[in-house]
Amino acid sequence: MRRHQSRIAFFLLLTPLVLWLGLLIIIPHIDMLLISLRERISFGVYEPSLTHYEKALTEPLYLRTFWRTAVMSVLATAITLLIAFPVAYYIAKMAKGRLQQVLFMLCLIPFYVSELVRTFGWMILLRETGLVSNLLQWVGLADRPVELLYTDATMMVGLVYTSMLFMVVPLVTTLESLDDSVIEAGYDLGGSGLSVLREIIIPHAMPGIVSGCIVVFMLSLGNYLTPTMLGGKDSLWFTEMIYNQFIVRSNWELGAAFGFMLLILSSVIVWGVLRLTGRTLKETMG
């Protein structure tokens, strides 16, 4: 009887998870896969075909956008890591008590407003008639309005800004678990700042670095708002192309094929990073 009850409880608890995974992730993806693998012959008539993948892989614009998105996402991840590491180190190891909490909150505050509003914030600052442009003219560094929007650099700033928290949090968590005396022992036995960082702090923080990088990479790759609003005319992001195919062109088949390419790309890169750093997904996330 008891066994029976505990089984019911187990299934009750399992149900939301199964529903969530099934309805929101697995079923749509299976459907997407099927859509991407068919060709529209005429109204309401479809045939299985690989033509959309062929198109995606041969058309220069599509391919270029695909690789650009991948490379820029990797770059955004690297920049985020470089900026977030010292910040996280300061929060975890140098700030004490209240200051630590305040700094942590400061990282969180930008997320109190929606991504859309945040991005508009950047636009207000950076447009031709914006604050920064006026400031530059007032100081005398520019003699006419400067347009700071719609460049790759601006887009990169936006991506890094959006991703910061997702890098800082895992880094702070792993760095906090490093005993101060282990760092001191590193110095005591003759290590310099650089060698302590390389041999002790970074190896210890590796799980945090890897999980932070994976999250930031996936967020950047799948970001839509920031590249669209801050990026330039020719800095098309792959998600924009997916959007265009689905919504503007109503070409669901090609859009679905793009979607699958993005999924495969992120899976391959995450797998590659895990292999490279010799970790399993379980170690990193667990």
Binding site: D179, S181, E184, A185, L189, G190
Partner: protein, 361 residues
């Protein structure tokens, strides 16, 4: 001979708390020096100043005669075994021990040889390839010491290194540490709050209280000839009284405790009318069936056994005298008191030399 380590008028303040207050000591080469004191008295602070992680507010630290105040921690010829050992969990045992040598830029082959030699020295040959968490507490302990000793420091600092071990292992490691110190022939500065660790291992012990050194001396000095009431109370256990001196003849005094007990005791620089604190160790009180057996003692009492505290070799009896005062007395394990039980009448006595007294405010 220049001392290996010398601290001169060392002071450390954190805000308005003075953690270390005017401490001076010197440690001769090859000796085992302990700093013994209750938790929070400033021991770790001294250690961290010697290692270079804290700057003293004032005073000087000299190693082999030269001041090291301007030397950063990674350049000081001292190494530290941390309270929780602080082995590098991301490295193997061999990498841990070789870390300092790698930092010095020693050739790979030579590092390997030195590491193997160190592992032999600590009695753990062949464990170089293991991970830190595959070792037992005692093994980690020895690896932490080897990691420092391969660098041949002038002074090795140890901050309560046995604190995390269980009792049995701690007893074993006490002997082992002393043997390792002899084997490496290096100056050890050892801090602990455990008096038996300090007494067993040290050549010299400094007893520390609230940032100051109360007394520096050998274990025997501290035990038999404490300089201050704090040392008398901290080392070993004591029956304590407060009282007034009634007569003083040289070092021997006649006094009466607040509870009305008359006693002869030893205490320099005390004169008639002074208030004093008196300490008598349970192990210096003799227990007897008849008053005659105690005729050689200056202080004698008759009392009733109120309780027997069995603790193997350290068993005690609590004896209440006629004035209603309870004394702790060691119970000899030679068999004559095997049948002692609650309510029995016993006689106790102790010599004036075993009752130490200090002037009190």
């Amino acid at each position: 001979m220049t001392p290996d380590l010398e601290c001169l008028d060392l002071v450390k303040r954190f805000g308005d708390t003075t953690a270390v207050d005017n401490v001076s000591f010197s440690v001769p080469p090859g000796s085992f020096f302990s700093i013994l004191g209750p938790s929070g008295c400033g021991k770790t602070t001294i250690m961290r100043m010697i290692a270079g992680f804290l700057d003293p507010t004032s005073g000087d630290i000299r190693i082999k005669g030269g001041s090291v105040l301007d030397t950063p921690p990674n350049k000081r010829p001292v190494n530290m075994v941390f309270q929780h050992l602080a082995l590098f969990p991301m490295m193997t045992i061999a990498e841990n021990i070789g870390y300092g040598l790698r930092r010095r830029g020693m050739a790979k082959g030579e590092i390997g040889r030195k590491v193997d030699e160190a592992l032999d020295r600590i009695g753990l040959p062949g464990i170089g390839g293991r991970k830190v968490d595959e070792l037992s507490g005692g093994q980690k302990q020895r690896v932490a010491i080897a990691r420092c000793m391969v660098l041949e420091p002038d002074v090795l600092l140890l901050d309560e290194p046995l604190g995390a071990l269980d009792l049995k292992l701690r007893e074993h490691m006490k002997v082992e540490l002393k043997a390792l110190q002899a084997a490496f022939d290096t100056t050890f500065v050892y801090i602990t709050h455990d008096q038996s660790e300090a007494l067993v291992m040290s050549d010299q012990i400094a007893v520390m209280n609230a940032g100051r050194f109360e007394q520096v001396g050998t274990g025997q000095d501290l035990y038999y000839r404490p300089d201050t009431p704090f040392v008398a109370g901290f080392i070993g256990e004591s029956n304590r009284w407060k009282g007034r001196i009634e007569r003083a003849e040289g070092d021997t005094v006649q006094l009466r405790t607040d509870t009305g007990l008359a006693m002869r005791a030893t205490g320099a620089t005390l004169s008639e009318g002074d208030m004093a604190e008196i300490f008598v160790r349970p192990e210096s009180i003799r227990l007897a069936d008849h008053a005659e057996a105690l005729s050689s003692f200056d202080n004698r009492l008759k009392g009733t056994v109120t309780s027997l505290l069995f603790n193997g070799a350290a068993s005690r009896v609590l004896v209440r005298d006629d004035a209603g005062e309870t004394l702790e007395v060691n119970l000899p394990q030679s068999g004559e008191f095997a049948s002692l039980k609650r309510g029995d009448t016993v006689h106790i006595g102790w010599g004036a030399g075993q009752a130490t007294c200090f002037g009190a405010a």
